[in-house]
Symmetry: C2
Subunit: 121 residues, 2 copies
């Protein structure tokens, strides 16, 4: 699935920095490596449409700070973290498939903002 | 992405019959080729957790009729079809990615019913 992630990342003009973290880190150690401005892809987050996601994407682009989006481990992130959360679905996905979905949504968001025909609704 | 679909299908013991229909068919023509017992993966459907999906999967296995699950075209299915609908997410996915997600959920459902460690929650 990493090929799909690379493909969408390339289509985004490689403006996205994708990092794979050592799976031996606990989720708490992993989050410490990221800036405070990290949104978690996790259950219990907001469910967005692709257009809602594109609106957020625009805000992230306009933000003076880097924005991190973190897909957690299979066991999920610790509960009660203060970070903002987004849920991709009520369904549970494998970690790698969640990453593919996220990168495709980022690409879709950029196409929505461009007004291209990629996103139909 | 068809490799991913094949991979999950194999893991399901090839008990699943996967068909790709000619994209020149209109959604209405496409549905006519399937039995009446066809559930549409489409917006406006029920949002399920993977455990809810597994419960449905069990009912489909016990059903004496074949159950079809149809992923629609980019333009979606015609509105007001009487078929039952399931939504994978509020997000919009490319047709092929939706198919990967669906087949992974079917595999996950079979693992949930087996009580394996594949699904954690």
């Amino acid at each position: 699935m990493s090929e799909l992630i690379d493909d969408y990342s390339k289509r985004l003009g490689n403006k996205l920095k994708i990092e794979y973290h050592n799976s031996k880190l606990t989720p708490t150690e992993y989050l410490k490596k990221l800036s405070e401005n990290t949104i978690l892809l996790d259950e219990g987050g907001d469910f967005l449409t692709s257009r809602n996601f594109a609106t957020k994407f625009k805000a992230w682009q306009l933000s003076s700070d880097d924005v991190n989006l973190a897909v957690g481990p299979a066991s999920g992130f610790p509960k009660r973290l203060p970070n903002q959360k987004i849920s991709l679905s009520k369904l549970t996905f494998p970690h790698e498939l969640a990453s593919v979905i996220l990168v495709e949504q980022l690409y879709r968001a950029s196409e929505i903002l461009k007004g291209s025909s990629y996103h139909k609704d």
